[in-house]
């Protein structure tokens, strides 16, 4: 009896713990209801939070809001436009020849020996409060000479009592660029940047040598090293020297790789005993951006809180047409950020995530295939609108085209599908026509995508609308006012010209067998892969699926032994160079381990690429890109698949949300109405208790007759019933 009473009491407290008027199923502390807190989720723990190491979208979701690189993208304007963030202005490169003489902006790339970017850091920027910056009364760092005894009782960063801040200086930006070359940090962009930043390779070599000579745990002091291509001019100015003419370099300046990190951070985290406690910059960032990471428990929750020292940035006053009508300029000129705290909860599974969004416990959500029909409905003209259930809840739908491309690649080194001969080109084109991307998007992506006519997605300079002049004429024709995929008869004719009439080798009669290496497996992928088999079968080609894991596929691609493969690319920055380089001959995967997985090589394309990448956007650049895309369409090294379309939902209490496919620092612009959220949550989540009473009652009733029967049996005499 005691146990039952104890259990019920415990259950009552469990259910009502901290409720204080908030719904029973509220997963957050009752004290937070009504607070200016944004609730969102993450599905996978970030591997890195150190800005020189982090290069994944799920990591940028955090650090892009913590760090403050010199530049950022305008939140509202499209096409994407760079604006200052940590810098006073977007730096304009000054070109120099080999003798150091300045050159005009129009100087041909061949004459430019190096470009110099002078960056002026905004005055008054301050780092978040952090123990690494804490100083004592004499101005000396409090925590830069910690002993084992000092670290006793310290398990997390929060265990340090004192915190400090200081102004961001130009030297901090330079320090971070030096960190790119740190041999123990493995920056993914080191090799790329050694090709551009003058002296970075020399620094990397020197640091590697020093690291090899030092015992394992001994820290490398970067401040003792200089970097020729990154020079501090004064406290708030630094200059970067970049080899040749590389206009895309400005885009890199908008990434956390180039955000300021104070040398004190390295001194603090490199101390003996910190790594054993998992206290590192990779775990506890130190930035000057609008938010700071105050809880880092990627097993459960990560929390960003407003950096109390962040100031000076206001909500944009300009946008693109339609933004004003959509209320996106209502907060123009107001100081950022609006939200005090952002709680990221670990949510690995889609079903609980979606249900919690519907209950109001997440402020925004994507739409998974499983919930697509519940969330949106098609209007019949191809437009999608919210389902009545969602509309009734005041949920808003936003769609945007991702700056990504998905493709089915041909290995151009393969003797059957590769090469530049007319025979194999026609085979690739026949397949390109047969694989019906429109059907794929309709069936497997619920219409969330746009068929690709080339490698450059919409929204990126160089993209041409798929109108009469912009369609891929190798695969489509303009009929009835729209692009129509060429007929299967045409594809079969191409296949016959390629030497495979009806899918059989013209001389041997052997069926044409092609192999697709894919990491997709399991029940979910089966329908998709079966669909691909049917697409190839339409023209008589037998497609064999070779399921493999990610590493095996990468290995095959590195060795150039895969025949057909699926891949995709998500833009680093909004420039056509960042897509066309995927087909640049000198970056062929099998030869140079570059990103050209198809190993496509075309001398004219490569020459045009080298010209195009140095040019500013304009008619001349567009003309070159058009020619390059035409070459690609002609050679067909990829089956141009689709550009994905993202659908996101958010509740009516969230304002200023606008999809931005390039930038990840959009949290500071968003605003909430917490009172409305609290009201809606209460209305949507009243506890329903009566079923519990019914269940208990049913259990009792089901056992009661048996108990009665038992008691009767127990009371019965041994002779009862014999008569």
């Amino acid at each position: 009896m005691f146990l039952i009473r104890y259990g019920l009491t415990l259950l009552f407290f469990a259910l009502t713990a901290g409720c204080g008027g908030s719904p029973w199923n509220d997963p957050y502390p009752a004290a937070d209801s009504g607070s200016n807190v944004l609730y969102t989720s993450f599905a996978e723990r970030p591997k890195h939070l150190d800005p020189v190491q982090s290069y994944a979208e799920n990591e940028f979701a955090f650090i892009a809001n913590i760090y403050q690189p010199p530049l950022q993208y305008h939140y509202l304007k499209r096409p994407y436009e760079l604006i200052p963030f940590g810098a006073e202005a977007v730096p304009k490169p000054v070109y120099h020849d080999a003798a150091g003489r300045p050159l005009p902006d129009s100087a041909p790339a061949g004459r430019v020996a190096y470009s110099e970017y002078v960056i002026r850091v905004k005055r008054g920027l301050r780092y978040q409060p952090h123990p690494a910056l804490a100083v004592d009364v004499s101005g000396k760092p409090r925590y830069h000479a910690l002993t084992a005894a000092d670290l006793r009782g310290i398990d997390t960063l929060a265990d340090f009592r004192h915190r400090g801040t200081r102004e961001v200086e130009a030297a901090d930006y330079v320090h971070q660029i030096k960190r790119l070359a740190h041999p123990r940090l493995h920056s993914p962009i080191l090799q790329l940047m050694t090709g551009y930043i003058v002296g970075l390779q020399t620094l990397a070599d020197a640091l590697t040598k020093e690291a090899a000579a030092l015992p394992n745990a001994t820290a490398i002091d970067l401040t003792r090293h200089t970097l020729e291509g990154a020079r501090v001019i004064d406290r708030h100015t630094y200059a970067l020297r970049v080899r040749g003419k590389y206009p895309q370099f400005a885009y890199w300046l908008a990434m956390p790789f180039f955000a300021p990190v104070p040398p004190e951070a390295d001194r603090f985290y490199d101390q003996s005993g910190m790594a054993e406690k998992n206290i590192s910059l990779d775990w506890y960032p130190l930035g000057s951006g609008p938010y700071m990471l105050t809880v880092n428990n990627p097993n459960r929750q990560m929390v960003l809180e407003r950096n109390p020292y962040f100031q000076g940035e206001t909500y944009p006053a300009e946008g693109e047409p339609g933004d004003r009508e959509n209320g996106l300029l209502a907060d123009a000129g107001k100081p950022l950020p609006f939200i005090d705290r952002v709680v990221f909860s670990l949510e690995k599974e889609q079903i609980p995530y979606w249900n919690k969004f519907l209950q109001g416990y997440y402020d925004a959500s994507g739409i998974a295939s499983d919930t697509f029909d519940q969330a949106v409905q098609s209007s019949g003209q191809g437009d999608v609108t919210l389902s009545p259930e969602m509309a009734q809840r005041g949920i808003r739908l936003q769609t945007s085209l991702a700056t990504s491309v998905f493709y089915l690649g041909f290995n151009m080194l393969d003797p059957v599908v590769g090469g530049v001969e007319e025979r194999t080109r026609k085979l690739r084109l026949a397949i390109s026509i047969a694989v019906d991307q429109e059907e794929f998007i309709s069936i497997f992506r619920n219409g969330r995508g746009v068929p690709a006519h080339g490698p450059i997605p919409p929204g990126i300079f160089g993209y041409r609308d798929a109108d009469a002049s912009g369609i891929n004429p190798q695969v489509y024709e303009w009929r009835n006012g729209g692009p129509q995929r060429k007929s299967l008869a045409h594809a079969k004719r191409l296949l016959a010209e390629a030497g495979y009439p009806n899918g059989r080798h013209a001389t041997t009669g052997q069926p044409l067998l092609l192999h697709l290496d894919t990491t997709s497996s399991g029940a979910d992928s089966k329908a998709r892969l079966d669909w691909y088999i049917r697409q190839f079968a339409k023209i008589g080609i037998q497609l064999v699926i070779r399921a493999t894991d990610f590493n095996r596929l990468q290995d095959k691609l590195r060795r150039g032994t895969a025949q057909l493969f699926f891949l995709g690319w998500n833009a680093d920055y909004p420039d056509p160079e960042n897509f066309l380089f995927l087909l640049h001959g000198p970056q062929a995967r099998a030869r140079t381990q570059g990103e050209n997985a198809a190993n496509y090589v075309n001398a004219e394309f490569d020459a045009l690429f080298d010209r195009m990448k140095h040019m500013a956007n304009g008619a001349e650049r567009q003309a070159i890109i058009n020619r390059m895309v035409d070459l690609l369409r002609h050679d067909a090294p990829w089956v141009w698949s689709f550009f994905p379309k993202d659908y996101t939902l958010h509740h009516g209490w969230v304002f200023n949300r606008k999809p931005n496919q390039i930038a990840n620092n959009g949290l500071k612009y968003q605003r909430l109405d917490p009172a409305l959220r609290m009201q809606q949550r209460r209305a949507w989540n009243p506890p329903v208790v009566w079923p519990l009473a019914v269940i208990v009652g049913a259990l009792v009733l089901s056992v009661l007759p048996a108990i009665v029967a038992y008691r009767r049996r127990e009371r019965r005499t041994a002779t009862a019933g014999r008569a």
């Binding site: 790594a275 998992n278 209950q359 056992v703 048996a706």
Partner: protein, 325 residues
């Protein structure tokens, strides 16, 4: 008894060595150090130099079992196997492939696992035995018949169904508990109610049916008939005599799993967002973090061996006839 335990522990060391070699070999057959490096370094702009550097810094550039270039015993110690597996015997779990201290992670993540597993285990055991006794008590009545039908039905349903169904019914339809999540301290209780409940319900079918079989077997024995002949009530016969004598087979299945409660529940933790060791293992497998996987397999083996030894000891406690030999 001491000699017996020492002997079992020595056997355990051999078992652990075997498990260790097998895990190591299995991982290295399907997953080369290069694969691990690439999994850690990401998919974008990974250069061969970065891969080599990653391997060198984590000791994966050494020979696997025998280092010919080293003198004396260093031929064996300067190898990947010694670095990554032999040190485990000293419970030196080392750092994960991402550089985090595994021992520290285990020490923090075992508590959420225990918070779910221990109550689910204790309550579950009480519920299963009670339900089984109920069926045995009312044997050959409609309670027994429908009880067995219910057990078979519940055994046939996947755990995943209980989880998703439970989240839908208790969390979404009736709004009684949070669908998923976790919090520290006392605040964790509201998040534990549902996973514990589902953990208990999910085991009713198989466990209760098994215990019922054990009880029915005991009921048919002579001492029970004797007890009844002495005039004892049916409840007294069941709870005082049958239950006590049915403890040995029950202990066989129960005591061995007690240490393993540390390891957490893989699917439950994943669906409920509970930051325990189950989700730690699943994440490590997904991220191909060999260091964590081998540490967890080793820990699982140690706990299993401890569980088996505890089971043997518990036999002597419940049945004086059983002696160590």
């Amino acid at each position: 008894m001491t000699a017996y335990i020492i002997r079992r522990l020595v056997y355990g060391v051999f078992v652990l060595a075997g498990v260790n070699v097998l895990t190591f070999a299995l991982f290295f057959f399907v997953n080369s150090p290069e694969d691990m490096a690439r999994a850690q370094l990401g998919a974008k702009r990974v250069t061969p130099a970065a891969v080599e550097k990653w391997k060198r810094e984590r000791g994966y550039d050494k020979p696997v079992f025998l280092n010919d270039k080293m003198p004396g015993s260093r031929k064996l110690t300067e190898t990947v196997f010694f670095d990554k597996s032999v040190r485990l015997f000293a419970f030196e779990f080392g750092a994960s492939d991402q550089g985090r201290n595994i021992g520290y992670d285990i020490s923090t993540r075992m508590w959420p696992s225990l918070a779910v597993q221990v109550p689910a285990f204790v309550i579950g055991l009480a519920v299963y035995i009670t339900f089984a006794l109920l069926m045995a008590f009312f044997r050959a009545t409609y309670v027994d018949f429908w009880g067995v039908v219910l057990c078979v039905l519940m055994m046939s349903i996947s755990t995943l169904f209980y989880i998703i169904g439970g989240q839908f019914v208790f969390g979404k339809l009736w709004n009684l508990v949070p669908i998923s999540g976790y919090d520290a301290g006392f605040d964790a209780l509201k998040f534990l109610v549902l996973p514990v409940l589902i953990g208990v319900i999910g085991g009713i079918g198989s466990s209760s049916r098994w215990y019922r079989t054990i009880f029915l077997e005991e009921i048919s024995k002579d001492y029970v008939r004797t007890a009844r002949a002495k005039g004892l009530s049916e409840s007294r016969v069941l709870f005082r005599h049958v239950l006590a004598n049915a403890m040995i087979p029950i202990l066989t299945g129960v005591v061995v799993v007690i240490p393993l409660l540390f390891m957490g529940a893989l699917i439950t933790e994943s669906f409920f967002g509970i930051p325990g060791l189950g989700s730690y293992t699943i994440d490590a497998i997904g991220q191909q973090d060999f260091a964590i996987v081998r540490a967890m397999v080793f820990l699982g083996s140690v706990l299993y061996i401890i569980g088996l030894i505890l089971t043997d000891i518990s036999y002597t406690l419940v049945d004086p006839r059983v002696r160590f030999s």
